[in-house]
Amino acid sequence: MNDALPSNADLDARLVQVLDDYLAALQAGTAPDRDELLARHPELADDLNECLTSLAFIHRAAKPAPAGLVAETVRGPELEGEVLGDYRLVREVGRGGMGIVYEAEQLPRGRRVALKVLPFAAALDPRHLQRFKNEVRAAAGLRHANIVPVFAAGCERGVHFYVMELIEGQTLASVIADLRRENPKEARSEGRGMRRGTLRFPIRASITLARRVGAASRAAPEAPGTGYQRSAALWVRLGSPDLRSTFARSPVWGCRRRRRWNMLTRWGWSTATSSRRT
């Protein structure tokens, strides 16, 4: 090769080392100042400068998006007000790792529903799409008063979505937060129930919806804790990429129930991710 790199093997090795360190720093998000780096290695200056330019450009052109930004492509004005099939999206009500939930209107009937959309970018990844489909299938197969029912699923102009009952209420997390503020004693019983084994699942409060029941709660929001159904609607999110961490993080899950925990996780995980025999 007739490249103008120093023929000196020692210089070559040092150049590679500096570049490698720089790449590692770029990946860690702590790239050192270039001028400083060049000044520190004057013997490599020309070659190093050229190589650093290439490296920095590659990194800028192809660096992976930070987690959570993927959903940005379908956010806000792009979908709010849009019509997907029979549904007109009214407003965003929440978002998570697997999708964005909108309040929507079913056009012919005017019924209000919740519509969950798989972010466009996630649909590009066959695994995400498969998980989303598994989630729809699993959720549609479950019928229980405390699980949000799925009405329909579809794909419109490349946007995958499914339709659920719209639960008027708030997440269990915010109910608990309210309870804590108003009545610390009441809120703690949730954790006690878990420890006593009366609650069968570690509930992740942010994905659990508490349905408002009765007129009393609407009339007297200053008395939270009385108006919410005790058995909150549990929104089973099979196939969520963070499913494992959801369960793994649960602090109240004792050793005695370890076996059941494992079964749950394995079942959920394999149902959610298996594409072996589809």
Binding site: L19, I58, R60, A61, A62, P64, P66, T73, D125
Partner: protein, 209 residues
């Protein structure tokens, strides 16, 4: 330099998309052809070695461009970022079809070293992670989308070895022993090759900015 390039390119591409939509003579071909290198790089990183033995990434790209040409009427976007997202979607679908096709074949020959499922797993991982990544804001996404097209074009002009080492090390971020194994060289040789490739790449990038 990069930012002014991005602005200029944005207007160029937008007007070309407009022409292509109006079905002006040759506009559609010209527009889509300029993404061949980009798609090939994606296909290359999306298909791992075992799959590449069975199918040529260039065929996959050809198929993708053909479909894009035929169905251009369905493309609604105006910007390059939207166009590349659309092309990636077609490519990803073709890639999935391809893997599914081979999975059927594979089911008949049971004694394979690695399951194709794992190949799909890894493939889609790098495909999804590497370039299907939009930025934190629309403009940043557009910019990154364009820069990866520039990068793909520059890489296409490198020699095969140089391109391979950059893809393995800088894009797919393999450890050096793995890079060396895949390139059938010693680690020291692979590292040196990488430095040379980076040096060669710089003027190729600059010529496109």
């Amino acid at each position: 330099v990069i930012d002014s390039h991005v602005d200029r390119r944005e207007t160029d591409v937008a007007s070309l998309i407009e022409d292509a939509r109006k079905a002006l003579e040759g506009a559609r071909e010209r527009l889509l052809e300029s993404y061949r290198n980009y798609l090939r790089l994606l296909a290359r990183t999306g298909m791992d070695a075992a799959l590449r033995d069975k199918a040529d990434p260039s065929d996959l790209v050809q198929e993708t461009l053909l479909k894009a040409y035929q169905h251009f009427g369905r493309f609604r976007g105006r910007s390059e970022a939207e166009l590349t997202a659309w092309l990636r979607q077609i490519l990803a679908r073709n890639l999935t079809d391809l893997v599914r096709r081979y999975r059927v074949t594979e089911a008949r020959q049971i004694s394979r070293e690695r399951s194709l499922e794992r190949i799909l797993e890894e493939s889609s991982q790098s495909l999804g992670r590497l370039i299907a990544a939009p930025g934190s804001s629309p403009s940043e996404a557009a910019q990154r989308g364009e820069l990866s097209v520039v990068l793909a074009d520059a890489l296409a002009d490198l020699s095969d070895d140089h391109r391979e080492v950059i893809v393995l090390r800088s894009l797919e971020e393999h450890e050096w022993d793995e890079v060396a194994r895949r390139m059938d060289r010693s680690e020291g040789a692979a590292r040196l090759l990488w430095a040379r490739a980076l040096k060669r790449l710089r003027p190729l990038i600059e010529a496109r900015l």
